[in-house]
């Protein structure tokens, strides 16, 4: 049995997130197709790959065909940070094939490409765009067919030890294009519209010899170029954090609440704070981060409510300025869950944060592009799992309308995903709106079952007594306990 298998080098693509999606990088000497409709980012991806792969010893050749006028292409591509003019004519060579392609003879095109490849000995070859090459193909019966051209090009490039990319326009997936069979890799770029939002997505439909991450991966194009948001590694050990040790506990900043939780929030737990608007969820979240900072810990906050950080309180604002609490910028339109998860985990790693706040899930859902809202629960579950993998303790808030006919803890059925739940609620007593809270769930730990009054003052949340002598609190209109006081205070208990 031979052990000398061909070793396939994997090239780093220079596109953040793409190596992960590809399953470890781009196989060296592979023959790849970058396809997608106009405006999907094909040329940008090709340029970004080219500037990453090219070296003076193994330059990159970029063949431009009829498609985009090269002047325009250079004009716009150089706006990206990765475009380094100094590499042009050193490690990067542009070669315009317009004149040869105009003849419509693919044999001539191939001959020209081969001649250039022989001259420069490139490590990477790009042909942009493939579609226009087809359009340039005349009715000449003597010219070789497209399939033959592709096969010969692929074979030649492999034997010349070059990684090759064909950039193709307008190709549809249902079109049984021979290129798909010949190519080793097939990277499909899309823009997926829903309602008024458009989300860019990338799919690796094929990549020979390696395990790619299946599915549509969102990406963004900014001045830095393309950034692919690979799903946050699920391979990371999530099990240990699913059964976290409950002996190390984090203080929430509300001493009485810690006592109710059996000594604080166990490290690595996720805590859902659910309650109606104005009940003090965000204040509890801020207190949680501030208490962490007091203990020398760092935190990260993803705030989806559209308000400045000043509105979160001066202490927290100071911590943010001092970089003790990182803020995940969630203002970009049409976010994807993977993007948020990626931003969060990057920030958590940067600050070595042990406390994370997501405020609130309702805002989070609104910030997502409409196309992701349909499977919000799945997405949220992925996010929680990815955060659990970081080992940080997570506090999420969730807007929950008070319903006095049933008892619910989260609007998304997310309760099962979290390790602990605190519910806040309004009750009416003596013509006053009072707040109560309870620890509903604390996985693997004893906790209080008390329903406690609390109020919010300048110093934060103050937990008071249980509501004395009343029952039916969760119905919102508590009545006096029957066995103590027969006389009602004017509230009908139906």
């Amino acid at each position: 049995m031979t052990t000398h298998k061909a070793a396939i080098n994997r090239l780093a693509t220079g596109v953040p997130g793409l190596d992960e999606v590809l399953g470890g990088g781009l196989p060296e000497f592979s023959f790849n197709l970058i396809a997608g409709p106009p405006g999907s980012g094909k040329t940008t991806l090709a340029h970004q790959l080219m500037f990453a792969l090219a070296t003076p010893e193994r330059p990159a050749l970029y063949f431009t065909v009829l498609g985009e006028p090269p002047l325009k292409m250079l004009r716009y591509q150089q706006q990206f940070d990765f475009f380094d003019s100094e590499q042009v004519n050193v490690s990067i060579r542009f070669i315009n094939l317009a004149d040869v392609t105009a003849t419509g003879d693919l044999q001539k095109v191939l001959t020209r490409i081969v001649a250039e490849v022989e001259t420069h000995g490139p490590g990477a070859v790009f042909v942009d765009s493939f579609r226009s090459m087809l359009a340039g193909q005349g009715d000449d019966k003597t010219s070789m067919g497209l399939q033959q051209f592709i096969q010969r090009l692929g074979l030649l490039m492999t034997s010349w030890q070059a990684t090759t990319f064909l950039i193709g326009e307008y190709l549809t997936e249902i079109d049984p294009n021979p290129v798909f069979t010949v190519a080793d890799g097939l990277i499909w770029l899309r823009q997926s519209p829903q309602s008024n939002s458009v989300v860019r997505k990338m799919e690796i439909m094929k990549m020979r010899g390696q395990q790619t991450l299946p599915g549509l991966h969102t990406f963004r194009i900014s001045n830095a170029g393309i950034h692919v948001f690979a799903p946050v590694s699920v391979a990371a050990p999530t099990e240990p954090s699913r059964t976290p040790r409950t002996d190390v506990r984090l203080r929430t900043g509300v001493p009485e609440l810690d006592r109710m939780m059996g000594g604080g929030l166990p490290r690595g737990y996720s805590l859902l704070v659910a309650g109606p608007s104005g009940s003090g969820k965000s204040i509890l979240a801020s207190t949680f981060l501030i208490e962490g900072a007091r203990a020398g810990e760092t935190g990260v906050i993803a705030a989806f409510e559209q308000r400045p950080k000043a509105a979160r309180g001066r202490v927290l604002a100071d911590l943010i300025d001092a970089d003790r609490v990182g803020v995940v910028d969630t203002r970009a339109p049409d976010l994807s869950v993977d993007e948020i998860a990626r931003l969060l985990s990057t920030e958590i790693r940067r600050l070595k944060a042990s406390r994370v706040v997501i405020d609130s899930l309702s805002g989070f859902e609104l910030a997502l592009a409409p196309t992701f809202r349909d499977d919000f629960r799945e997405s949220l579950s992925r996010l929680v799992a990815s955060l659990a993998a970081t080992g940080a303790s997570v506090l999420m808030t969730s807007e929950l309308e008070d319903r006095y006919t049933d008892l619910r803890f989260s609007p998304y059925g997310t309760a099962f995903m979290t390790d602990a739940i605190i519910v806040q609620r309004y009750i009416e007593v003596g013509s006053r709106l009072l707040r109560v809270l309870a620890v509903v769930k604390m996985r693997g730990s004893a906790h209080s079952n008390e329903l406690r009054l609390f109020h919010i003052d300048a110093d934060g949340i103050k937990i008071g007594e249980m509501v004395p002598g009343r029952e039916g609190l969760l119905g919102g209109q508590p009545s006096r306990e029957q066995n103590k006081e027969v006389r009602d205070i004017g509230v009908d208990d139906d």
Partner: protein, 141 residues
């Protein structure tokens, strides 16, 4: 600042300093343009280079009316024969000035489109001393 365009202009001015032969200077100017075409064609396509050259002629014409007479044969525009013909009929000082202005306009136009740094990077490959006796070049591509 367009240092590469100035460098190319300077080589022609240097030539004018040692000879008054306008025909020879015009020949060198045309060969420089062929060199520019050869250097830029792979990157922006021969069509792109010629289009920019025609535009430069049009713009520079106001300052140097003699350039109005330059009508390149569309099929052989890469030879810059008409430019060479027109320039050879001027004084050597005029050749240097008119061609210099044309080069500068061309370089400015290119920089406008693809940026100064990339323009400089590309024009750097234009040889600084064109052959005084231009070898027949294959410009058929």
């Amino acid at each position: 600042m367009q240092s590469e365009a100035l460098r190319i202009q300077a080589t022609i001015a240097d030539l004018a300093a040692i000879t008054d032969d306008a025909r020879h200077i015009a020949e060198v100017a045309a060969s420089t343009w062929r060199e520019i075409l050869a250097v830029l064609s792979p990157v922006i396509g021969p069509g792109g280079v010629i289009a920019l050259y025609q535009r430069s002629l049009y713009v520079t014409r106001t300052a140097y009316p003699c350039l109005a007479a330059v009508q390149e044969d569309p099929l052989r525009s890469g030879e810059f024969a008409a430019l060479q013909m027109v320039l050879s009929q001027q004084t050597s000082a005029q050749v240097v000035a008119a061609n210099g202005a044309l080069l500068q306009t061309f370089s400015d136009l290119l920089a406008n489109l693809i940026g100064v740094s990339l323009t400089e990077r590309l024009l750097r490959s234009v040889r600084s001393l064109p052959p005084s006796n231009p070898a027949p070049q294959d410009t058929s591509t």
